[in-house]
Symmetry: C3
Subunit: 669 residues, 3 copies
């Protein structure tokens, strides 16, 4: 297994390199990522290349036996480039040109930039494609991060128009599908179509969704261009990856991943400006997204947080145990390599307060020791753990286009996409039920339950898959606002939930958006929900059943008789519909029963204690992860004798897991 | 009486038209507004006109016996127009050009746009001026809505300079009246005068007020141009109107109304982003503004909300009863026609979530039934009700220039113009006392009481009217910050309340702005206020009396002896001054006594129950409107036998009015 | 002593001048500041000068015996100037050009503007340099106020590049010191360096700090240019000053002051938008900054608030007593002249709601009477009081560059520079301990205690001074985040507190930024802190001691053993380190003991009662200032017989000081 660090040799005097490499060796790492912001060093002026520094750095790393991952440096076009080709700079939605002075200051739609990128990547690939120490490549860095996903300049507008022409072929088709007859927006020439710069009200949602698709696809093309250059010059043994962020950008990771050998992920459970880490479920969801991006294939964590992070604002300082905990969580959920960001905190530049394994003074202290503990504990064990399977009987549907559609029309000030997604994901996570996050390219019959949260923008193809799946005995869980839109971001003309109404056995003749100071009240009426009640946030679907059974209703003087949660038999299968943003406890209760009926494993543990199973042919692996910063918790181990590789200890029955404790237990089959 | 719908035939396939028209017929409507966003259909390229779609639509509507109102489509200049004449686009106060992509993306100051508008309106007028189904015209749509009232581009600057030259004739006069000697702003050429783009501090308030006047007047000229074109081609029987919004824009509805046959209003008691409807008094105030715009003349509600509204954020879903209640309220206060917005929710475009009588699925449900109930209940009765008089013994003064002056200098973060206006309007509304909202062009002697709230920007002419009125026995109620400014937005050099000090019998030597976390405490000292106390928000005038009596004082360790509310005899009349933002209950108590003394009818009803009287020569009409969403209320009917036309039921004595109930009762004289 | 008013003769009709001057005479003032916004009057068109109005005004003032201070009018370039030279307008960090229409609408980097400024100042100096009434000059007005300190246009960028070239000489040096290797920012031509316009993330902190230095220095050069012009034409007896604001702008008052005879200050303890005055300590800190700007030299208050202030929002109305109190506070802390802003409130322009001694109606009332009381009370006494010494045994360090560095990286949303500075200043102020605010150009041995709060950006030179000072017996108090940065805004590579670690006797291996909803808990462990506890905000340094003693520790399940406050013996002296943003009470307790040990006078008074001592050879002056708006307080006078000059009363033992009372007591030595 690869465990390594992100290192910036260019930021330190050469006399320090030996110290650092020596300390890394002692720490036990085996891989180093470098060079992803090194363009001005490699090409100090246009067309002049100088790889001296990286030659030397790689040579020394190689001499220590480290493998090297190289980043292409296109996230940071140098000053000379911007001075000479200022048209490369992106433009925001008010028309402000983004200045040189930080990073990601290019629009992917600039042809000049594409050419310049191609040249530097070609030179790098030629230089290091045959180097024995170089095992792979990271293309660029965190595409789209920090609002760099969308650019609104003239270059972008022209590219958008071309992209639309490719997609729709005729303006008639575009006008028809966008409904431009609304507000006299009919386009009679491609050149009339705007990028969504500032308007008095709001743009056409169909244009906005296509603009997001365009932005995502242009990044994919840009990435593909770099990948193709690399493939021309590098051998098979060198991999190509990119380090994704999953923050709702106009990026389509799954499409981009098709061009990559595997994907990578930058894992920051807390960052500048956050007073506390995000929830265990929120971290887990990101790992599940990673694992799902190439349909179950393992991925690298190319940046794993190793200290407090921040630019001008600094976030929470991870407590002792956090680094190991988050590393174990990552591996248990599919990461095959961990690269810590960063070896040592930078003394200058915007990221001065991104703390690393070492702080500014370069002295090993508790974070160094903790990473050492991780490495030691995994020694001789990691490979088999990684090789084992992550099995999931449940699937959660996620499509970035649906997320974009929600961003375009959030309905309520209470609505945040990730929060709402987690409303339906977290209860399953808290039951330690393993799930994959999928799109519409998987065989649903693999799964016993498919949860399709806030499925607002629908795809006919997936609707049909769901219908078949349920007809053949599957179980589907939908939530409020299912079935509203077609792929053009146009509202269905069928009664909601539209194309999915029949399988749900319901109609939604009325609904309501609830703002931050509003909530509904929902009472369970049948089955496991009987006697339970919950507030409902964000949205109320006031449901009438056609064939479904009512599981919960609204307590409301006007909508007293309307259903809030229903269950329908459809073909051989079952469909649930949760029409209100009810509380976690109610959803968890419902899931308990759904999972039980469907034969899905779930297990209650104390809040914040996460269990993750892996299976090999002869062993079961159980990661026990206590995310609680303050309290130890007792859990009941599944039957059998469990041993911990790193200590040799054996456990059965009850196990006390200390605060922020993390362990991997193994049981023979 | 006209009751109809806003319909967009261009947004639906022709095969649906028949279904829709059939359903409308069954519903019982008699008028349809169309075409106000149809420019790109009518003029698909510059100078080429095609009225096929609207020809066909009007023909079919006519065949069903519907009358048609046509909107001129200038709120939505087409894409080809903006591509060819980008100078038409407006500019915001930071210099950002507003993009094509929504609506109202033109500056009224563009001469090119004026010409292009003239041409399309000419063509429409020629086409439909003689059509038997067409009964009238709506010019453009909601002028100034969504910040489109003010544009800050170079074209606008030149027009502003010309407008100023017309107004002031000489720069000396402008310099003198604006006080440009302050901060060396003296202008020596007209071309030096800026539009109020971003500055480090704040612009000269006199310039700002004139800029608002300019913006309003340029819209009036633009509207007049369209009206003149229409009048050239249409017959007398076709009316011309415009659908106003009353949201504090730089618009002067009363001036514009002089060019219109009657005004129209778009009535949205709740919209996207509001968790609840605005208060009954706030809706009533807007109707009173409408009725006052042409000094009592009836108006159309050209858009009456018929479902939850919103763009990317959706508002409160009106409860069963709301549509009828708001319709009855509108008619009782002066609306002569109701056109529901919109027949059916659009499937595409920005307004996807503007719900209508029908939702996206086009099926009649409770909103359809409710509108039907409205129409049935008014059948054979509406005309006489509408023909009856709205009588008012009380007048409230409102001048948009005063509102603009407050927007320019709100004094406190607690101050919002409408909220403060309602502070003085709502207590009268809650006493069911009928009032007109007037400007300075009415004979005050018609009224027993004139309330002049937050009269900051004064007009000499109105001051003189007030003095005469009181001298002759009238009663006037002023509030804090009366008499501060002259028409140039310059502070008086008389002791406050300036020109009105003598009639108030007071001086205001000290005052204080109260921010959101500050309040005063006011104790009643005499008359009906004795024993009452109230917190005071927003502002404290620390009053010294000259001839007035003190009705209330401050409880304050420093201003203990200062008056907060006073009463003065002036000539034959009486003047009240309320120097603090006291609570509704105290003002209501004071009004009770003022109205009683002045012989004005008032009646207490449960909170949220509104009564509106109308009178004909032989009958009295009483609208009983329960705005309470949750509770029924008992009211005591005025003496006599009251009957309800729609049911034939008779009532006397006590009446239980259900939640959201609305009824019109009639009594023979 | 000079006591006067700010007057704008140009804003009033000449017939009013006599009334005003007569009233001023009766009030007892002796100096008037005029003309600082009079450019368009003096130069109504380019190159044409007309001093008629000011000639006449000065003549009349002279005839009344008033001395006159003239402002150069460059804060308000006239309309003709901007029309002809629009390149003079500044640009904000998004690229928006700041419009004409308010004030300070110039970039100091415009060479055209420098020339035009030079010309008007030359003409003024020639005109009034010999006038007997003119005693001095104020250059421009409030440099940098309201964000006018930083301009981001092309002119500014070129100037910034030149300035950097002067500073660094070679790009290699700049690249090295800024660490531009980070994110490929290496500059290969000076013309590549940006001004810090909008980027996706954040600019390099080293660039940002140099940009602030550049902005400050360019203002200093601009000021020096004006001073040099003046010196050429005016006699020695006329002083030159500038009225500073101390609000964290990119301004270096101390550097600028070197070119001035003395500095001036605009003293607004409350202004538009504030519901209450800032705290007594916050006002005192500003006076201490003033006094420190020229190392103890007295200064003028060129604008002393005399009424409620505000532009479109109006602030708190000062209560009776406030004017005298704030005047006495100013004089006691170093002001040698008081000029009240403004004689009378303006009727027009942006500052209509800046109230003065007179309000808009021009009638003398309580504020006039209160100023008269001030003048009478000081009559025949002020000069000796002013001539006496302000003695301070304690020094507080302040460097604007440190403040800028904090603005660039505030670490936490809880952090505001002034609030945090006051966290360490206010406890000393509340103990009535007199302190000077110093930079690194003073002999520290004058002081018994030196407090160095939030010393983030360090200077080697000052570090060395501190070390010497403590070695020789001095006492230093540091706070959290000491020693982090070098002068290039680069993080030290030593363990914190870096260069100061040895003298502190500690190391800070871990720390944490606390956001608004986070706090630590600190328990006193030794000395006066034993038994005390406090919450800690903003920041926690988790301290390990090397040679220091622990005074307080964290109550925290993870950092239980870490120190929060320490004390170290170093050489002959003592160093305290306060590693957490603890509460005022804990710091006051600690100071009590530190001051006692160091032999510094302190005395407890009721909260909000401030004592300020002055000393002459034979007398002690004690200003007693009760800032409490509601309550009188009893204080114990220092031993001896104290007399009040204005009343002739004598006091000893206990003294009752009424709310907002202020008095100066004198005791013979």
């Amino acid at each position: 297994m690869y465990i390594g660090v992100d290192y910036y040799p260019e930021q330190w005097p050469r006399e320090r390199w030996e110290t650092d490499l020596q300390m890394m060796k002692e720490l036990g790492i085996n891989v180093i990522r470098i060079a992803e912001f090194g363009w001005s060093l490699m090409e100090p002026e246009e067309g002049t290349f100088d790889f001296t520094l990286y030659d030397e750095a790689i040579k020394r790393m190689h001499s220590y036996g480290f493998d090297v991952v190289l980043g292409t440096p296109t996230a940071t076009p140098p000053a000379w480039l911007i001075e000479k080709y200022p048209e490369v700079l992106p433009v925001d939605d008010h028309g402000h040109v983004i200045s040189f002075g930080a990073r990601r200051h290019y629009t992917v739609n600039s042809e000049v930039y594409q050419l310049l990128s191609k040249r530097i990547v070609t030179e790098m690939a030629k230089r290091y494609g045959q180097h024995p120490a170089v095992i792979g490549w990271q293309v660029d860095n965190e595409y789209g991060h920090e609002k760099s996903d969308r650019s609104y300049g003239d270059i972008d507008q022209t590219a958008f128009q071309s992209w639309l022409k490719e997609k729709y072929d005729s303006l008639d088709a575009l006008n028809e599908r966008w409904g431009t007859v609304f507000w006299s927006q009919t386009y009679t020439r491609w050149s009339q179509i705007p990028v969504p710069r500032k308007v008095y009200q709001e743009h056409n949602p169909s244009l906005l969704l296509d603009f997001d698709r365009f932005c995502a696809e242009m990044y994919n093309r840009y990435n593909r261009m770099q990948v193709e250059v690399l493939r021309t010059f590098i051998p098979e043994r060198q991999f190509i990856t990119h380090n994704f962020v999953y923050t709702g950008l106009a990026q389509d990771q799954k499409e981009m991943a098709k061009d990559l050998d595997f994907i990578s992920f930058d894992n920051y459970p807390v960052w500048g400006g956050l007073a506390d880490p995000i929830s265990p479920a929120a971290i887990a969801r990101q790992h599940d997204l990673c694992r799902g991006t190439k349909n179950g294939k393992g991925y690298w964590v190319m940046e794993e947080l190793s200290g407090a992070q921040g630019w001008s604002q600094i976030g929470y300082n991870p407590r002792p145990g956090h680094l190991k905990l988050w590393t174990y969580q990552a591996i248990s959920r599919g990461a095959e390599a961990i690269v810590y960001f960063r070896w040592r905190a930078a003394r200058y530049g915007t990221e001065q307060f991104c703390h690393g394994i070492l702080d500014h003074d370069g002295k090993p202290r508790r974070k160094y020791d903790e990473v050492k503990e991780v490495i030691d504990s995994l020694s001789g064990f990691a490979d088999e753990w990684i090789a084992s399977d992550y099995k999931a009987d449940v699937a959660f549907y996620h499509d970035p286009e649906n997320e974009w559609a929600w961003q375009i029309q959030p309905h309520s000030d209470q609505f945040e996409y990730v929060k709402e997604y987690l409303r339906f994901y977290e209860p399953a996570h808290s039951l330690n039920t393993q799930a994959n996050i999928i799109r519409d390219d998987e065989d649903l019959s693999r799964y016993k339950v498919v949860v399709v949260p806030i499925y607002f923008l629908t795809k006919k193809r997936f609707n049909d898959q769901l219908k078949d799946y349920v007809k053949n005995g599957g179980t589907v869980v939908f939530s409020y606002r299912t079935g509203v839109k077609d792929e053009d971001n146009v509202v269905t003309e069928e009664t909601l939930p539209g194309d999915l109404a029949e399988m749900c056995g319901i109609e939604v003749p009325e609904y309501e958006s609830l703002r931050a100071d509003k909530s509904s009240h929902v009472n369970g009426q049948a089955g496991v929900l009987e006697g339970l009640s919950s507030d409902g946030e964000v949205w109320s679907d006031y449901i009438e059943t056609t064939t479904a059974d009512v599981l919960a209703t609204y307590e409301d003087s006007w909508f007293q008789d309307k259903a809030a949660i229903t269950k329908n038999n459809y073909g051989q299968g079952t469909v649930y519909y949760i029409g209100s943003g009810v509380e976690s406890a109610m959803i968890r209760k419902l899931y308990t029963s759904i999972f039980q009926e469907a034969g899905v494993r779930s297990s209650e543990t104390p809040e914040k204690v996460e269990l993750v199973w892996r299976e090999s042919s002869d062993q079961t692996y159980l990661a026990v992860l206590n995310h609680d910063v303050e309290e130890s918790h007792k859990i009941s181990l599944p039957e059998g004798e469990w041993s911990e590789n790193s200590t040799g200890n054996s456990y059965s029955g009850e196990l006390m897991i200390p605060r922020l404790g993390s362990m991997v237990l193994v049981k023979q089959k």
